[in-house]
Subunit: 356 residues, 4 copies
């Protein structure tokens, strides 16, 4: 079952702590013969890499990935692909205070309650630094599903939503927020700068769309495509909500307004007249674009002091110094993309297993 | 891995179709020596049973559960517990039209795309009737976690939300909507009656709170408590969104307003001054109440005609006759409770496995 | 993970005790569209059925299988196939003595040590009666691998081996021992009769050959075909050893005498000049016949008294009365066949998943 | 499910090829707080290390293990433990011939049949070099089961068996064969020298005994202790047979001679008067020593030419040059020990999960 693995046939396991020597992923079940080298993985890591703008943590990590196994002469062999990323800029001294008191909103107290002690350096295993391993594994997953195009972007930051009418796909990679709305991106600069200067932080909502997947991926009942996606996204640090298609808004529709009517299409497949369902019905893809959104809470590491208790049980106030993202939602966009890729690669193979 | 199983140590598998002779669940990994008989399970099934008010489907099913294995002299033996519920009121003739055309919002088209054909009688395997098996399995799970109290109720129906100030726990079981607000329950009668008479349907939001679980259940990273809960809830029919604690609203808070400050408590455990996190941090329970919400779309089976296509690819209009819940969200409340119980039972055993 | 499930994509779960109302299997992951009804399963159960000759237990069980789900209009739907067999001839009164003392060689003491108590009636869950569920599931597996022919037969009984030169495939179904050697079958009548009359029992060795599977099924390293087969066979009651190809004898060969040399074959595939490997290399099928053998200990239930202790810790002597197979190895042959079919069906789907 | 992982709660994944830059294991589910550092692992790797006597391959590998995660301040944290061993002495040039023709007895042909191509350098993933990762993971497992002592040794080599009367536990570590019989060890020197000089190889039988495990580990039916052990051992390179307790010889006993009678012991636990069962009944440990044996075929890599075919389908003769163990069974002893430790650690945690 594994606590640190995900997937059924295409399955990955991650390892590593924020301030250990390295972190990595082992990808198992990858089909053989796919073209893959480190240059296929690195660009995705670069998208998630810290320190690329003033709106993310200033920790300097090159995040260079090495492929240690499973690839021979530029192609996957079908055996486990071991991916490793060395940690370079650990600065453990920043974290001494954390050893003694619990940061509210962080896993500190829960880890101690569970394990009796914890690697407190930079959050240890609970650090979002682990998501680098997901992104690397996700790049392998993309090689399994070349027919699918996945795009994640922010639709809201600090409570400020994009204007859907101003949606511009090309804009997403032009600003440091993965924001598809130029005007919103400009406003978000101020919001994030303001939060950082105030020693505060803000939340965000990431939307992800996957095009090109055929009808038929997913499976009833506990391997439903949407169920797997929900698990995958909820496992990302700071995520507190996941919705598919219209999601929570669907609860406010009626049977007629929520229906996605179908008409005959040119190639025998249906044309859907709406996509309230977000591309999934009964846990199985319908051939429409897959649409999901995840809500990320504001970064819990803030300079503003918060009431807490120490390991000794005594009252304390804690300010989380060090280098932190004022909005973890920003760098979550490439992680959501990776998780969606990982789920879809797995579902493609699973579908092939059962239905040939 | 199993498509139709859920859980890691405490694990259940369900089987059965809406119009087959029976449906059931096999519960594996249950600890031995727990007191259990059919009378412990039946009341939970009765809560979910159809036909108990005019606000749910009029299909008449007694939903009598039989324990076929795994219990000896009133106690669980540690071996698989097989639970079976016979289908009584199938009326297959109601569903002939469904065989030929796809009902929008249902799994009909996706199943055909995946499997090449489907058991179209009452939705076959994709029918919410399967959730009876979950509720039965959930009753077994409750025996594993006597320290936990789980309550699910509706906080919104047809876009009409309860008044939190009027929340009354005792009210939940007094109305047919599992609604904790007397006034809202009265309004909802009209909403559901109106939808039914209009040949329409409405959505709902179910909230679930679990008290009594200790800090330390759950595990990084892909067995996180919230990740498991998200998968479990998203696997329920008609669910389109899941959120933990403040969920999507957390994305609109700041680091300070989202913090759950801690103060020393009388027994060495912390007192939390807020519960924005919903009882989970880093995927592990904090000892606070677990709080989650799920969004359910309006029933897709409506009398109002919807544009669709047939199996022959031709355009058609479909009205879904038969006996349907005008709001599937109502009967989902006991199902959400069951899924939460199933996840918590599993997490309790997993925690014991790793941490003694 | 499940204690009572086996398989990865094609996966089955069994439930039921010797003296409960019924036993069964849930088969998950079966491809859709396969022709299947109860008449396809019953003949395999009939081969394993007790009471068909004087050489097996006289318990009278019709072992009628019912398909409760997963099949529609004579074809598998891709959803879980629930199979149930009712217990008819339980005679619980035979087993009262077993409640108080541990039968050496049986699971009685180990179950009590593990679970604190046990369903002592007929061995409860540890009874070989559970293998009926395997045989039923195995019949479904056969539908997944029509290209494979599987034959299990006894090559040794009570220490008396067949003469390989006298091997006659047609003989296997003509005698009550699944013995391919007419003369040996005659001798075994006397051996089994002798054991039964003496209140004793004998062991046996079952060999199983599977023809028709292509090269390429199986996978390194912990899903090796031979590793899965070993697990599957060792899970059968009374099995104490498993070997593939030459097995233990291979340890006495040299590199040259153990080699299976290859020559070019007519269709581009190799012709192997020997099959010491038993059809598996590196955990993957080579396209040669799969050959394995399992060793079954003598039935532990014997009339001859054996020294033991009671649940009260006191010394006791126990004679196991009731209706028992004097050689459990005989009825194990159809069970070994079923387990091989179940492993191969799973491996076929797994191979398809990863390698298209 | 993972092709390259093993275990249920305590679960490890291995990666790496013979001639890649490194190999390793990720151990997941390890309890927190156990004392562990590299010095605890290295001695076990040193036992398996090549090049330590003239009776093993002359490949020079220091096999230095690094712990990359999961340990903090000398204790396990409960998060994944990543173990890495760099390959130093790859000499890829030795293996050019293997790229073009299939070595009988090796996985070459099966890998090509499955994956379409393979990493032919030193056998790639199918090389026994992978077992270094198992031994490293096994050392972690030992920390989980301090109550258990595991000893593996050779009882037969090249068809020459030890004299049980001369069994001397202390002798096992004094000779290069893990042989408990001084006289046999002397004879085996000649056998192995002879095989090497003749360009041949020999097989062996390894026995493994585990003392100290309590009654109650293991679980019916598909997680049986013996079933897990069989899978674990059969997954080791060159293993062709596994038996528990009397194994295949049990098939030649009678119910009386195979019984392990019980008498009351001083502490309320039974004293067993024999151990034909090898410490397992019904798939659950009885508290007696666990005893198993595995058969290893002779090394398939031999200098003597063997008939084969090339990738081009043409007839060829192949001599496997390079540095090979003349008896792979020797270095398998520490690997069997490791696999037994890994299974027992997992079963201990599983038992704790279900039975407290």
């Amino acid at each position: 079952m594994s606590f640190n693995s995900f997937g059924r046939v295409f399955r990955f396991t991650t390892w590593g702590e924020s301030h250990g020597p390295a972190l990595g992923a082992v990808v198992d079940g990858c089909p053989p013969g796919l073209s893959l080298d480190e240059a296929d993985i690195q660009p995705w890591l670069d998208k998630r890499r810290p320190g690329t703008s003033r709106f993310t943590t200033q920790r300097q990590e090159p995040d260079r990935v090495r492929i240690l196994s499973g690839v021979f002469e530029g192609r996957t062999t079908g055996t486990p692909i071991s991916l490793m990323i060395e940690n370079v800029d650990q600065r453990s001294k920043d974290y001494s205070e954390v050893a003694l008191a619990y940061r509210p909103g962080h896993a500190d107290y829960a880890y101690d309650a569970k394990y009796g002690f914890r690697d407190y350096r930079g959050g240890g295993r609970s650090s979002a630094r682990e998501t680098a391993a997901r992104v690397a594994a996700g790049a392998v997953a993309r090689a399994v599903i070349p027919e699918v195009r996945i795009r994640a972007y922010l639709v809201e930051l600090g409570g400020d939503a994009i204007d859907r009418a101003a949606f511009d796909d090309a804009e997403i990679d032009r600003n440091p927020f993965f924001c598809p709305d130029t005007a919103a991106a400009a406003r978000w600069e101020e919001i994030v700068d303001g939060a950082r200067k105030a020693g505060s932080s803000v939340g965000a909502i990431v939307e992800c769309v996957a095009d090109g997947l055929p009808a038929g991926w997913g499976a009833p009942l506990y391997a439903k495509l949407d169920s797997e996606l929900a698990a995958a996204c909820m496992s990302i640090n700071a995520v507190k909500g996941v919705e598919i298609g219209d999601g929570f808004d669907a609860a406010r529709l009626t049977g007629e307004t929520n229906a996605d009517p179908m008409r005959p299409g040119p190639d025998g497949k249906p044309i859907f007249l709406a996509n309230h369902a977000g591309g999934v019905a009964g846990g199985i893809s319908t051939g429409q674009p897959l649409v999901l959104r995840v809500a990320l809470k504001p970064t819990s590491s803030i300079l503003t002091p918060v009431e807490t208790i120490g390991r000794d049980g005594q009252a304390a106030d804690i300010r989380t110094k060090g280098r932190h993202d004022p909005c973890v939602g920003i760098r979550a966009a490439p992680v959501v993309e990776a998780m969606v890729a990982l789920v879809l690669a797995d579902q493609k193979l699973l579908h092939r297993a059962q239905c040939g």
